[in-house]
Subunit: 598 residues, 2 copies
Amino acid sequence: MAPFLSRRDLQFQLYEVLDTAALPGRPRFAEHSREVYDDILGLAYNVADRYFANHAREADLNEPHVVDGKVKLVPAAEQAMKAFREAGFFSAHADEELGGLQLPNVVAQAMHAHFKAANIGTSSYPFLTIGNANLQRVFASPEQQQKYMLPLLEGRWFGTMALSEPHAGSGLADITTSATPRGDGTYAISGTKMWISAGEHELSENIIHLVLARIKGAPAGVRGISLFIVPRYRVQPDGSVGESNNVVLAGLNHKMGYRGTTNTLLNFGEGGETLGELIGEPGQGLRYMFHMMNGARIGVGMGAVMLGYAGYLASLEYARDRRQGRHASNKDAASPPVRIIEHADVRRLLLRQKSFVEGGLALGLYAAHLEDEIETGPGETRRDNELLLDLLTPIVKSWPSKYSQEALSDAIQVMGGAGYTRDYPVEMYYRDNRLNPIHEGTEGIQGNDLLGRKVTQSGGRGLQVLLERIQADLEASEGLEGLDEIRVAVVKALNQSGAALQTILGQAPELGPDLFLANANSALEMMGHTVIGWMWLRQAVTAAQRLPGARGDDADFYRGKLQAARFFATHELPKVRAHADLLASADRTTFDMQDAWF
Amino acid sequence: MAPFLSRRDLQFQLYEVLDTAALPGRPRFAEHSREVYDDILGLAYNVADRYFANHAREADLNEPHVVDGKVKLVPAAEQAMKAFREAGFFSAHADEELGGLQLPNVVAQAMHAHFKAANIGTSSYPFLTIGNANLQRVFASPEQQQKYMLPLLEGRWFGTMALSEPHAGSGLADITTSATPRGDGTYAISGTKMWISAGEHELSENIIHLVLARIKGAPAGVRGISLFIVPRYRVQPDGSVGESNNVVLAGLNHKMGYRGTTNTLLNFGEGGETLGELIGEPGQGLRYMFHMMNGARIGVGMGAVMLGYAGYLASLEYARDRRQGRHASNKDAASPPVRIIEHADVRRLLLRQKSFVEGGLALGLYAAHLEDEIETGPGETRRDNELLLDLLTPIVKSWPSKYSQEALSDAIQVMGGAGYTRDYPVEMYYRDNRLNPIHEGTEGIQGNDLLGRKVTQSGGRGLQVLLERIQADLEASEGLEGLDEIRVAVVKALNQSGAALQTILGQAPELGPDLFLANANSALEMMGHTVIGWMWLRQAVTAAQRLPGARGDDADFYRGKLQAARFFATHELPKVRAHADLLASADRTTFDMQDAWF
């Protein structure tokens, strides 16, 4: 069985491309050291390998189902939660005073990556819980934190985010779940929530739902939406779990993949009152939720990266072992077949995967690095880093979601019929990852967010920061050997993207908002590829700097990085132009299309 | 539930783009008329709707399994075979003297399309049977035809093609199944065959395997491969089914999709002798098999088209019904949400699907039309048509396999979370179609076939014919309204592709065969898109000619064709350039990559 993750690449990304080893120089991380980080990642590998990877297929084949009114998961999921809890991973990122390790975001993200790669379905339970706790840490009152957040950080209770409703998925502005003040500071919550992951299970003593709802009399649209803490079981004054809060499971969704994560339809206020506590101010619910959502979007992107990465490693192992066919130049039918990794087209499929998943990993960790810069880095670059992270978030979410799916298709293709069977994991990864372009904001939403909001936000400062950072890395690449192709290709993609953005932004007033956004997907594609090209430039700079002093496996590793950068430069970045041209042309084809013509 | 197929589009392709109504003017089809064809297609729709579509999901959820030593399918599959048989569809294409209808290929293909769209898994049983009979019709002896082919045409017995072995899938040259002469004209077949679709079931009285094997002492490689008829049950002199022929089911493969089709590992000669009859001459097995294989490749392409088409129609229906969000220009939160088909990005996803599946359908039926031209058309164009069909076959097989998968991904995306659940069929189509880029020759094999063989075959005459045909359609497009974008885009793609081919072919001698073929996938992509662009040009010409005289739904239909052609021109054809540039550059990236660097 192939490993689910490349520990060597993770080290490269953290310590060679990023300067994670310097973080202990900051006050918040003063107790840390690279050794501490490595120990945690080593522990994560072992726990993920032993308690998560062990039941990925089992959970896929035995999806959650209801037995005697309770949602039943495979028993191994419970063991996994126990191991994750005992390792202290629920609170790894939290403050020391809350029992946490104060891990930097980049290390926490790298730690999480192991569980996503090993078993994406089971990993959802802790990650939704951690996201929930993160939101409470920022917006909930001290009393709420004491009551609801601490048990999450201990891993005793689990969390969800309950946003969508049957008639309102992407269009959250239209949610109708209501919150009626009960006069004692609490609210009676009533309504139906759809697509709630981890919405019901018996893995934890309690489930804390973060629920978007409208307080009676609130205005229409997003300004009328508030956020509530709604526990599955009411919490007693002493913090213990009490009676049912009347959150009723109305149904389970049956998905193509990601089957280990129970996905639910929940009725609030059925058969009795459902009590909720308001978080923060009324009408701020969507803003608070987006704090969690932005983290969740990076998490989705990283989940996609890790599924793609696991598929890549599985297909690589297969390609190194399986013998089939001969080189076109070999006419000797009696010669033995070659290992399929020797066929150029198989190497294309493998290099393509490598360029997608390692490029995606670099981006996901870069985003986490930006979070650290914002939280603990120098104050003078904080605002720039915030704007850059805002700009990158739709790409961090959507690019790996889309291109890991392509990588996984390539993994299946490398393995042929074998890859299409359930004897190997790649078909499962392919089914799992297809969710990622949908949840936490579809690709369409990400495109609109990028072109309609992030590109022009704060006078375009985020975009300016991006250009400056890329420029700095282009300068760092000069004089280094083997980098010409990637450098030239990045510059070209950057110029094409920049010119297209300038053109479409210049036309925006006359186009109007609908036509302006009609080709937002091309903006997402064009900027996504350009950003990943930049990520490859950064990796290539590091590899080129280290290659001369490297020997053996290390030298091969750096050569592989340079070749993958070259691949992305020659096979992928030239695709930017078609998207840039389309965007710049303000093409009306989809805008003009009529329902009746389909 | 959305329809699984657009009867209007099928009429358009057959009678407006192609001149199928003129075929009854040929002697072989003298008994036919357009009304006959329409009646057959109407019957096909009804049988497919009632007996195939009814159990597509049921067969997906209850894949074939072994009970008491027998492979058990869902009972509805048996009813489907009965209905297909009673409709006379097994022999629809066969000669009248064999009980057939002598249907033209293009009509037979259109008839088959219904079953592929309604239930791809169950449709495999009759289509493998028909392919088997087609091969026997050309290469088997009259005695063999009498004994083995007639029961297939009656639908009493079913057929398979047994090529691959556990160690030899794409690399058929390495098969080791042996055939030992028994002295009475028959052979004892011994070995193991892998990935045999419909290899074992109880749907028919007998199963006739077409088996590739080596006669003892035959040379290594493809020249030593012969083709044998191997029945599951031996056939008595009176044609009745006798004792077991010792073809033993060694295992079932468990696939991601296409689950209704049983897929088997078979041992020949286990527990007793397996008798086989040689077809034709020894050493010609692969050549004979490729006669069936070429038809099978068109069939795979059409299967992909129809899965994509069914997904498109399902997502279209959903998009017309589901309300979500508002236009960016609408700031009134109290206004009702719009139907999602009104969002430009959803229309992009729908137009993209439409352009892929209707483009693919046009190509699949054009290929069938070429088969008719070859078999019953004017003698002076026969050779040209043969070469053109040879050239197009790798594209007919691989382009829809790849782009229907993209279309199905778009269908899921349109439907969001709903599309990802088993409550709707699109996730199933997505799993089903992922097989198509693998079986009957992987995408890698199609690329090598196209660039390494078909492009230069007969002094490049096939390519020349392609250029002439496209040129003729470009001329036909002149002066017609609304065709500028598609015409200009096709010319551009054609010029880019042509120049890239010329460049790489010119360098072939110095590159050597391995490096020459290293970027064959780009040739496949570039030519595939160009050919589909041509198919859209043809459809657009017809639509533009008919639009002025059309009213109501018909006018909308033609406007939709023109808009989809425009979409392919503006959103897809510009992607040709990156592939053409890569091919022309004889890029060495994948060729130079080393195993150790991954």
